[in-house]
Amino acid sequence: MSGVLAAGQATSAGASVTFWVLAVISVAAGLGMVLARRAVHCAVLLAVVMLSLAVLYAVAGAPFLAFVQIIVYTGAVLMLFLFVLMIVGVSARDSMRETIAGQRLAAGVAGIGLLVLLSLIVGHAAIGPAAPPSPQYGTNNLRGLATLIFTRYVFPFEVTAALLITAALGAMVLAHRERTTPKPTQRELSQQRVSGAHPSPLPGPGVFARHNAVDFPALLPDGTPAPLSVSPVLARERGSSAAQLPPGGGTGDDEGAAGRPQIAGAEPEEARP
């Protein structure tokens, strides 16, 4: 830790090189994030930005913040993003065609305008060199932060805690779905299974799989794709692309629709636990 700190406090060439390299990387990642077609790529590039920012925090003398950035921000928040992306549709490619006329032009102009204005402000503000490290800013970053949080900023701290609790509760409420039918009991489920098409337990995932990809259906004994082998969400999302025999292998290609039998869209309701 002290090594990082020492490296951060020094305005040496090493710090400069770190800064400039990371600056270029983060700007490039940011641009890529805005321009990427698939949402997963955007998430990964955001992760790159966050990580480079973490290093920059460390260089700037905020090691605690650097680790919090990695652990909480990248490790928790961004992962949350990725989970939701999975549910929503991980490989859906966004259309890059703009539907609102003049939106891009206006956004670009406004953005450049803001950049110019901010440059003027910052240039006018004459931000000088870093002040010499004070005792407060000194070697024990963690203790200093703790002191501040629990003395001067204790009220915002408490309020933020309340905010967190409220957010968690709100998320639970929003994600909650009422059952419209009573939950089937164990007895009912057994009765359904015995009187249904498959009395015996179904094979586990991957037993009849022909391929590693989860959206590649398994084949029934008569050679047709098995509808139950692909998640209904994926089947619906991919549409015609799911459950197809590849002419020469390869991963799921979104656009190829010719010659691939479709899996009918299943109910989104999970009938099985």
């Binding site: 805005v34 949402a39 928790a76 932060l145 900023y153 967190l164 929003l174 779905r177």
Partner: protein, 99 residues
């Protein structure tokens, strides 16, 4: 490497994030651009803390992170609910308030 350069980098990232919010149609990507803007602001706070050799900037950056996390939680929950109802993650689909 001076705090000024940190602030400049923060500005650039902020503007990139802002333009991204306006240009992208996928709700998830818009969210992520908002996160980028928040991160840029955090960087600016840290830079100013470094400038004044004062930890207040870092404390505020810390709080920003907390609030950002709470916001992400609630926002994603809303997004899920909308997605369940509309089967689409495009923000342009929700245009019923037009003239």
């Amino acid at each position: 490497m001076t705090p000024g350069s940190f602030v400049a980098l923060s500005m650039i990232l902020f503007v990139i994030g802002a333009v991204g919010v306006l240009v992208r149609r996928n709700a998830m990507v818009i969210f992520m651009c908002v996160e980028l803007m928040l991160n840029a602001v955090n960087l600016a706070f840290v830079a100013f803390a470094r400038l004044h050799a004062n930890l207040d900037g870092q404390v505020i950056a810390f709080f920003v992170m907390v609030v950002a996390a709470a916001e992400v939680v609630v926002g994603l929950a809303i997004l899920m609910a909308i997605f369940r109802a509309r089967r689409s993650a495009s923000v342009d689909e929700a245009n019923l308030l037009k003239y």
